[in-house]
Symmetry: D2
Subunit: 381 residues, 4 copies
Amino acid sequence: MGMIGGGTDAFIGSVHRLAAFMDGQVELVCGALSINPDIAKSSAQLLYLPEDRTYLNYEEMITMESQLPADQRMDFVTIVTPNFAHFAPAKMALEHGFHVVIEKPMTFTLDEAKELKQIVDKTGLLLCLTHTYSGYPMVKQAKAMIRDGVLGQIRKIYVEYPQGWLSKLSEREGNAQAAWRTDPKKSGKAGSMGDIGTHAAHLAEYVSGVKIAKLCADLNVVVPGRMLDDDGAVLLKFDNGASGVLMATQIAAGEENNLRIRVYGEKGGIDWKHEDPNTLLVKWLDQPVQVLRAGANYGNLSSYALANSRTPGGHPEGFLEAFANIYRNFTRTLQCRLEGTEPAPEWLDFPRVEEGIRGMAFIENVVNSGNSDTKWIDYVV
Amino acid sequence: MGMIGGGTDAFIGSVHRLAAFMDGQVELVCGALSINPDIAKSSAQLLYLPEDRTYLNYEEMITMESQLPADQRMDFVTIVTPNFAHFAPAKMALEHGFHVVIEKPMTFTLDEAKELKQIVDKTGLLLCLTHTYSGYPMVKQAKAMIRDGVLGQIRKIYVEYPQGWLSKLSEREGNAQAAWRTDPKKSGKAGSMGDIGTHAAHLAEYVSGVKIAKLCADLNVVVPGRMLDDDGAVLLKFDNGASGVLMATQIAAGEENNLRIRVYGEKGGIDWKHEDPNTLLVKWLDQPVQVLRAGANYGNLSSYALANSRTPGGHPEGFLEAFANIYRNFTRTLQCRLEGTEPAPEWLDFPRVEEGIRGMAFIENVVNSGNSDTKWIDYVV
Amino acid sequence: MGMIGGGTDAFIGSVHRLAAFMDGQVELVCGALSINPDIAKSSAQLLYLPEDRTYLNYEEMITMESQLPADQRMDFVTIVTPNFAHFAPAKMALEHGFHVVIEKPMTFTLDEAKELKQIVDKTGLLLCLTHTYSGYPMVKQAKAMIRDGVLGQIRKIYVEYPQGWLSKLSEREGNAQAAWRTDPKKSGKAGSMGDIGTHAAHLAEYVSGVKIAKLCADLNVVVPGRMLDDDGAVLLKFDNGASGVLMATQIAAGEENNLRIRVYGEKGGIDWKHEDPNTLLVKWLDQPVQVLRAGANYGNLSSYALANSRTPGGHPEGFLEAFANIYRNFTRTLQCRLEGTEPAPEWLDFPRVEEGIRGMAFIENVVNSGNSDTKWIDYVV
Amino acid sequence: MGMIGGGTDAFIGSVHRLAAFMDGQVELVCGALSINPDIAKSSAQLLYLPEDRTYLNYEEMITMESQLPADQRMDFVTIVTPNFAHFAPAKMALEHGFHVVIEKPMTFTLDEAKELKQIVDKTGLLLCLTHTYSGYPMVKQAKAMIRDGVLGQIRKIYVEYPQGWLSKLSEREGNAQAAWRTDPKKSGKAGSMGDIGTHAAHLAEYVSGVKIAKLCADLNVVVPGRMLDDDGAVLLKFDNGASGVLMATQIAAGEENNLRIRVYGEKGGIDWKHEDPNTLLVKWLDQPVQVLRAGANYGNLSSYALANSRTPGGHPEGFLEAFANIYRNFTRTLQCRLEGTEPAPEWLDFPRVEEGIRGMAFIENVVNSGNSDTKWIDYVV
């Protein structure tokens, strides 16, 4: 693995490394870790990178690595730069034959996302998008149950993602994370809807198996002086006729990171909270609620849930393990491809360029709706 | 207390009686308990009503009671009939000098509600509307904290009320409760929005102290064959600039009666769930969450919270006690009026005709918005 | 109902009245509400008692009431005095033909308890002991499931009752409740073990259906200056071979009233907490945990659970309703007896003189064990 | 890192590897992964070990590694064999100059533990004992608060560890984990008390800072045919006068792995559950409960809590991260030693040979007490 971005001054880069290393199958071999040369070098040292594979920008890294013998060069590149700096390195990496792991939202604009898909299609390489929350075993359990029809026809979807860390104008108080995420030049058209709304939208479609068809958005800039939405709520219509509500806010003072999804069908519903990620509540129309737990040996957990946990029931796995599941499934699929074998269906289950396009389309549509006086707008991709 | 409706074939009538009797201050002295004479009589017998005060319709009851000497007649009348049969007996009772307790929604139409207010204003009598959930001590605690500015300016309100009991077409399967509540001739313009959406809207305004100014509603008839909305979600704008989301559904299979409200201000938020009504979570921007508990002797619970519980912390009070609080505050206020004394401010805190108008306006506005292609409509009263 | 004790300066008396009145079947007709004549009179006035049935001591009350015509005298007497003043009025009431409701622990000594049983047996009258927690519907559900063998052979019982309100020497700081409960002359041989340990012991035997056969107790006086145990833990052996642990403490600073019981059998376990009394967790060896809820219409709740709730699932009932269930079952049984009919089995389910003897025996045995160097002592009744 | 035990047929070995690898600071360089040569070889292959450092027994590994140049040999050895096979390799490794990480319980007997301490003292090498649960940030927070006197004098400690996985005689049904853990020849004198009771005892002493001074144990063999205790409860007296209860069972059908500790002092208490490990409830005598969360930026979390989490509040870390904390603190301390620098106090916080002796003493004392008719026995080390 080579890494673009993720120096010591970043947040998500270290999470990617923890996740990638956890299962002992991935090694960091090179990096262009910062656009600041000093940080790029010092970060590389801390990560035991050799000097000759410590690069100062992504162009250099991709060029140089592609000139190494096939068995010595990096197998894939991970891109953890701010949103505006996703597309160019991803494109160049793919065009030089490298598989790509990329942070969400996938690109800066929907057009870039579509172009990336064309390159992926043309090159036949893998692109893995780290929608972390879809890596949790009990999220996969929910998806499997719904796919298997256990809840009947899906009728209602509530997905919410309240955070409170942008309750003040932190971008003016030296918070680097806040600074780029609220800057339309770095983050894109949307603020909270891009940062966390895309996670919520992905989760809703991933778990339920239905797609957003129409939406009606209320986007707000709550904190005076902020340049992008920091709060919003969206009414949803899905392509199967179900309706839903998506709430994403970063000004819910006192909230941490409480992504939650509830999906109701004719026969029952599921309820998953990031706060307690190893539990899936299954609610039934005419039976007691059941508490499904990750790693439990009931004999009826989905193979997708089981394949994405490492320990027996009662040994909580968390955010890093969910993240590692994305990496593990991606790298197993990659390894199968390198070995010419067929990956297990569970390993193929990681977000890709198509999900990246959905995410960018979500941003476009939700911003358009937020600016519109018409109630429902079609979800255009 | 005299009662109109609430025979043995009804649901909410017995709840009213349990609530009214609990504190030992109210006695049922007469009733017109059903339009079915047999049920009216047998129900009266079970409740130990004397035969001469067992009436067969409300006109008879109000007429006869008003002819009794002042110290023998009922002090007030409780109306627990279906929505369409609220207005006429309420009007007649007030016009004959009786105070009124009435189930929500207050009337069948907004116009009726406004007329009722005129009568209340003219007669000077008390009208108490049983928005039960505002009777919980920790709801009152939340209201008090917000009123006192503890959370700062209010920014975001989420209120949700998921139920699952109408997931099937139960109104065709002999469920009497379902039958009238889904019948536009008995229930009114709205189904779930009238039945439970009004509770949610009242709670949002009661707790936050701000009023809905605009809304954008998505109303759905999910179960085929149903005549009124059984599901909906509403985007809200409040008169102080805050935004919000209201969700009310009766087709969330597996849900019981999980009303929940979250209100966020600049400095923190509150989170109250009917499922655990004696707890109020208070979330802070920069301090740990606090768990406030009904009846606790911290020395910093609001007098409104303390006045509305009967037992020390750790002795859970529930739905019936919340209901009884509405009755207790109403009857204490009534008693003060009868005695010519000044009620404590905590006793004056029960929902009245003004809240009844807000509820009927909510129904009107939410139905109008549901039928409209325009995104935001002004909340007209 | 007549009441002995329970004046305005007492705690549990008002709880008894709330519970008794709730279902509209019981009326307070007379009382000897305090040994302080002023309080006795003023308390009676507040409760609308007529002057001629406001008594200044229990002897007077029982004597006078027994001289009234049968259809005018009280049907039963409720005794809510401190422990040392239970036996004499209970004895006198029974000997004058009155049924009795009595607070736990039933008497001051085990000998008194045994004598009371002789009188009950001789007179054939009803004695109802208010072990409140056995009135909760989900406690009854747990009992029913275990009785029906759903969990298989019972193996392990944990019952705990942590409170924190005696963490300081409150009995010296004007806390009247603390004063008598920590005074061996008023409370009896045990402090916390008598006050709350007896509840825990009763609950363990009630739910599990097995009886304590041996025990090993650690009793502590934690707060310096206190005269009775304020903390303790007891290892238990039951008559079926199961083992258990009972923990009762009043010095767990910050705890409210968190009685909890867990019972495990070969096939699964149940877990009930007073904090969330409408929920019963059922844990299975090889299936997901189930969340049973009071009032739910699954079709598989026990008739004992259903008969002891008043509202549908999702309408929390609490401590007062559990208390009221004891009264309701007792008074229905009493009414059947007066009418010469057969009570439903669910109505017969209230604690009686036998449970009172078990409670007093628990106190005796636990104090003996606390003072002994021998590990296990036989539970002697 | 070299590893002894932990082949593909084992459980805890892979957990050690996940934990060791997570932070990208540890590499597996050699292993004697199984006493079965085939498993030893195939496991090594899966872990990318070179053939020349794939050993078939620990003697060979330690001998060979010690003959490598200092900068090529393993830095430390991790021992993850069953209990009976801990001492010999640990002793040999230390005597050959290798630092040691070892699973709990540290040895097979208390005598072995004491001998190991002598060797550690003599060689000056590090021995790290993986009492995982002490690696959780909120456990460290609890310890820090108690050490800082926030709760006042400690009065009561409840620690419980219910599991259900040995509810049947699984050791006769092909469950390899059950087989050795219930075999006195492989596991030692105690079953559940050694396997999980030692974790509970360690946690109690670690968090509270006080030491067990006396105990009174009830050990049970619940499942017929089992050779060691599968259930037990222990009354405790601590050296500061506090009392406590320790419950450890493996026959609580339906329980997963729910270690929980509650510690109460004069001013309040803490409550930590493994089920929700990122939360620490802090209960106060006269203030609302506070909910402390791992990774939160309140400004008042202990440096020990903060140093042991990797992500911001709301990103749950779990069992593997807690395990990784033990490794991370150990390896940082080791690295400092190698570099001649001073480790931060937070890094020195990992369990060592002294805790290993306490654990073995716990087993000895608890078994002795279980066999004794005397109530209290002194805790002898």
